[in-house]
Subunit: 227 residues, 2 copies
Amino acid sequence: MSHTPLPSTLTRSVEDYLKAIYRLSLGGAPAGTTEIAHLLDLAPASVTGMVKRLSEQGLLEHVPYKGVELTAVGRRAALRMVRRHRILESYLVAFLDYTWDAVHEEAERLEHAVSDGLIERMATALGNPSVDPHGDPIPAPDGTMVELVYTPLSEIPVGQSVELRRVETGQADRLRYFAEHGLVPGAAVMVVARQPFGGPIAVRTSGGEQLLGAELAGLLLCAAGAP
Amino acid sequence: MSHTPLPSTLTRSVEDYLKAIYRLSLGGAPAGTTEIAHLLDLAPASVTGMVKRLSEQGLLEHVPYKGVELTAVGRRAALRMVRRHRILESYLVAFLDYTWDAVHEEAERLEHAVSDGLIERMATALGNPSVDPHGDPIPAPDGTMVELVYTPLSEIPVGQSVELRRVETGQADRLRYFAEHGLVPGAAVMVVARQPFGGPIAVRTSGGEQLLGAELAGLLLCAAGAP
DNA sequence: TGCCAAAATTAGGGGTGCCTAAATTTAATT
DNA sequence: AATTAAATTTAGGCACCCCTAATTTTGGCA
């Protein structure tokens, strides 16, 4: 099955818009221009202008005053950027001694500059991984991705041991904090307490430490039941 | 000794101008705007405009109608780009299976996007090399570079064997041709003939092949006398 | 239903960096 | 010294992508 070719020359700016709209599209609803503006740190009016241009290019569909959705072409372009980003992060951690909290910024710039060929060479060197250091799934070169569904830690019963599979934050300081306490993908943790109403959660790490915090609830995901 | 800090945010375009002007400055004379335009594939009038802006920023000195020269700050910024480019080329060849004729284009884009930190990590992984795969010297992180002076092959007497040290061309097809016949830095060659008036030259490679061509004269450099 | 606040868009403007076409300067030649 | 061709600069414009301020639309709520 052949694809409509992706536009060959997207600017860095356009690539960032597509990534942002893709991220927002995961929420299910069409992305609002203000949401996009917030993610990209731009004024909403600027987004309206760019959105108009990208619609004309067929990368997204815009219903004025309603919202923005990626077209099939736009989604492939966005997933291509996601693949680049996650392969880059994986490569930097595996081969150039980066820590998982330090790779994001570097990948954020490189993803706009590397060729597809280099990404594939890096992927090969890594053994074609399916997840990156944060446990995020890596889209395939053809732009397909299996979104892995994990159970949020906040839904694991008290007393159960599980394996962390994914740490969903890009914030370097949080990642550093998690890493210091062994909360990385693959780690085993036991839920030891929970506040009422789904609030903060407490876990015991394999190192015997006990940690408490609201961040733990949503940011750490796991495969339910796996020790 | 401390340096004037380099401007922290140079655009890709500015970085390319500085690199081009640096290359032309090696010829000794101030660079002309038309020369720069030719190197960057731009209209001469565009160069005049940019040159004006860069002079105001203190990156170069422009004497209207005469020519352009880098200031100390501009030269350091240019050498920083040269280091990035050559470390990147070296890394791609050493660790990601690129051939020396394929790295230029990739490095040309990456050099604008990588952080100084990543370049230094790559340099460390390479063992802090002083020359890149083409034999070109790599500037130090502080922006100093020893320009190695080799004897052009065209000046080696007929019958003498020498070691190639540097292949001075960025043209991928020529590099491929040279590589196919073993003409890479480190190779031993013997000059077997020369046309009158410093014209084309003929060499015998260690593989016993005999090659003739005008390109050989200027593009291949060697350490005189070394076998 | 009518009004209000939030969201989104339009209007107008600025910086960058490129272009073409029209001067202008320089340097070489006669 | 005058002419001329090449190099260079100026003038005027355009595309991109951002901004602020003003206006329009929407959706919820009294």
